[in-house]
């Protein structure tokens, strides 16, 4: 494989990412799936990078999942998104940073629609004003939260306590990167590195000392495809998608999987557990799974954040193999203790997946 070929493509897919003054829009589901990620993002930006980031309590769903499930019509979606932009405008910000990939894709789709069809934008402005008396400016810059971490990856390196290096062997840790489909597949030029060889996560892995794995099913869906999981009867397709990817990446012996979408880490994490229970199959060494991380979790680990404050104990595929390889100093006995040392209870140990 020729790395230079990828670099040539990466050079063609550069995007502008604002440097500061971010209006942050949280995800509907990420706080449930990975409860420490969004808090880690805010902490990293505020405390490590000294950036101005506004976390609004007023914003709602972008309607993304309902829109893609044909429950909410596009006109309604656009008006809801117009309200989010109005909240940003009222707060005095111009750089919109959604936490969710579905949202990022949808905001991009709406802005591109308005660019092509200004009369639609005018109509949406009218709808919003009639419904809420609100007005808005369009974002000067729209970047996904992973873009923001990518932009500041060198500053994170400068403050890093740990590297993506195996402390026992001294070799780079090998990471699978998986971007959410709606990050770049719809609008390749809106994603760092484009859609076919995305660089947003690969750039973080490389910057923090790791090595990126390219494997045959890299572009394949994680299993979060809405049609596959919204209808319960279809969930076999979801797990089949994830399994196909695990089987394809297994020979490369990945040390971790890095993601930037709400659904991808959830399904990679959960389905590894489910496959182990269904078939007794695990994809890491010695009955371990392949730890799955969000980009905030990985950045947090690199910066030396406590894994349990990052919420890594709620992962169904244990992350300890990665923590040990990175040489992270953590307290295994505090895994199931809350912030005030209260016992949070412990899940039942899986039958096959190595549990810590």
């Amino acid at each position: 494989m020729k790395e230079e070929g990828k670099r040539k493509i990466w050079r063609e897919y550069q995007k502008e990412i604002a440097d500061d003054k971010y209006y942050y829009a949280r995800s509907c589901i990420r706080q449930t799936f990975f409860p420490g990620s969004e808090a880690a993002f805010i902490n990293i930006l505020k405390k490590e990078l000294n950036k101005d980031i506004f976390d609004s309590a007023q914003h709602t769903t972008c309607t993304g999942i309902a829109y893609h499930a044909d429950v909410v019509p596009f006109e309604t979606t656009m008006t809801v998104i117009a309200r989010q932009f109005a909240l940003m405008t009222e707060a005095g910000y111009e750089n919109y940073v959604p936490s969710c990939i579905t949202s990022f894709g949808l905001y991009t789709e709406v802005l591109e629609t308005w660019k092509e069809f200004p009369e639609v934008e005018a109509k949406v402005r009218e709808h919003l004003f009639k419904a809420t008396k609100r007005e808005f400016k369009k974002p000067a810059n729209l970047a996904h939260a992973s873009d923001v971490i990518f932009k500041h990856r060198h500053e994170i390196t400068a403050k890093a306590k740990y590297k993506l290096i195996n402390v026992k062997t001294g070799k780079p840790l090998r990471g699978v990167e998986h971007i959410g489909c709606h990050y770049a597949k719809m609008f390749p030029h809106k994603g760092v590195g484009g859609a076919e060889y995305p660089y947003v996560l690969a750039g973080m892995i490389q910057e923090w000392g790791g090595e990126v794995i390219d494997y045959p099913e890299r572009r394949h869906c994680c299993g979060f495809g809405f049609r596959q999981y919204l209808v319960k009867a279809n969930r076999g397709y979801s797990i089949a998608c994830s399994k196909k990817k695990f089987e394809a990446m297994e020979p490369y012996k990945p040390d971790f999987i890095l993601t930037n979408c709400p659904g991808c880490p959830m399904f990679f994490d959960r389905w590894q557990y489910a496959i182990s229970e269904m078939e007794g199959k695990t994809y890491g060494e010695n009955g371990q799974g392949i730890p799955v991380l969000t980009y905030e979790e990985l950045a947090g680990l690199v910066l030396g954040y406590d894994p349990w404050i990052l919420g890594l104990q709620v992962h169904q595929t244990p992350v300890e193999p990665l923590l040990d390889k990175m040489g992270i100093d953590y307290n295994p006995n505090a895994k199931f203790l809350g912030p005030n040392n209260e016992y949070l209870n412990k899940p039942i140990a899986p039958n096959f997946l190595k549990f810590y």
Binding site: I9, E196, P216, E217, R219
Partner: protein, 352 residues
């Protein structure tokens, strides 16, 4: 009366038009930017559908310009072209000299470039070691090197992807490049002749076997050589851990998705308007059509005539063409220019 004609580009069209104009006792100057004439023909070992060597055609064309006493200038770089009434002044650099020459007519034969396959990112050309183009394969044929994978093993399975960069809105080329289908058939046969044990698969949308003997060659590839043709566009190519290429495609005749690993993947790249055409077009104010090739005065009847009086076209600078079509077009252009130079009334004809 003897006139001066400058021909820009000494590929097939330029050479053959120069031969015919020279044989009409005109003063013909043939400018070529490369070291040698021949254009893309130099890079092609055997030609469809006869499997004749490309160099035989090249020799034929070279003999023509010699007989017709064409003034061939290789390594000639055009700097500027201006027009004064009906006279063109061409300024070009040649052997460290800057030369100005006046001409009564210009024939543009700037040909085509091959499609840059890295633009079809999903096929991994320039990234995956065992993905090559039809032009790369032809270079292997021409140099006589063995057909081997990046690791040096003889391939057991080779896949050909048709229409790479052609009939593809995603890369902005909606047109058919005309020659790639039959090139795929030709190269598949050549592979089977060199590596009889190798399985060869061609993935196509349509097999456009329009030329005389093309269909017979296509049939021969299937019946005599056992080449497998699968109707479906390859959606993506990935690299397996052993370096082989995993491809995904829908077999649209069987109505089934198909996943297959091949040791070598050959991308049949199409034609794109040449950089030379863009440069000369800018100098002369030549119009281009929707596909970026030069726009001819009429699609049916005035195919050698440009929007600038005294400037003519021949060959693949106006659209993808086979060698046969290019030679015919070059001779037609020569005839058209000859009539233009004598101010023949046939030029007064208009099409509504």
């Amino acid at each position: 009366m003897k006139k001066t004609i400058i021909i820009i580009g000494a590929g097939i069209a330029g050479m053959e038009a120069a031969t015919f104009l020279g044989s009409m006792e005109h003063n013909v100057i043939l400018l070529e930017k490369d070291q040698e004439p021949g254009g893309h023909l130099k890079n092609w070992q055997k030609l469809f559908p006869t499997l004749r060597y490309g160099k035989e055609i090249l020799s034929f064309l070279q003999e023509g310009i010699k007989i017709a006493k064409v003034d061939l200038k290789c390594n000639a770089i055009i700097n500027n072209i201006t027009k004064n009434n009906n006279t063109f002044i061409v300024n070009y650099s040649h052997q460290q000299q800057e030369i100005n020459i006046e001409a009564d007519a210009i024939l543009v034969t700037t040909g085509y470039d091959t499609f840059d396959a890295t633009k079809k990112e999903e096929y991994g050309y320039g990234i995956y070691d065992n993905v090559i183009t039809s032009a790369d394969l032809e270079k292997i044929f021409t140099t006589g090197k063995p057909i081997i994978t990046a690791k040096g093993d003889p391939p057991k399975k080779i896949g050909f992807v048709h229409c790479v960069g052609s009939r593809d809105e995603k890369v902005g080329h909606v047109y058919c490049s005309k020659v790639c289908c039959v090139t795929g058939v030709k190269q598949a046969i050549e592979i089977k002749e060199l590596l009889p044990q190798c399985d060869v698969f061609c993935f196509y949308m349509d097999m456009r076997m329009y030329g005389m003997h093309f269909e017979a060659m296509y049939k021969k590839a299937q019946e005599e050589y056992g080449v497998t043709f699968i109707r479906g566009r390859v959606s993506e190519a990935c690299e397996n851990i052993d370096g082989s290429i995993l491809i995904k495609v829908e077999d649209t005749l069987a109505a089934r998705p198909l996943k297959m690993s091949v040791d070598l993947l050959v991308l049949l790249i199409g034609f794109v308007p040449s950089e030379g055409s863009k440069m000369v077009g800018n100098m002369l104010g030549l119009q281009t059509g929707v596909n970026g090739f030069y726009k001819t005065a009429d699609q049916h009847a005035l195919t050698n005539i440009s929007n600038v009086p005294g400037v003519f076209f021949a060959g693949a600078c106006t659209s993808p063409k086979t060698i046969t079509n290019t030679i015919t077009d070059a001779r037609a252009a020569a005839s058209t220019i000859a009539r233009y130079l004598e101010n023949n009334p046939i030029f007064q004809r208009k099409l509504t």
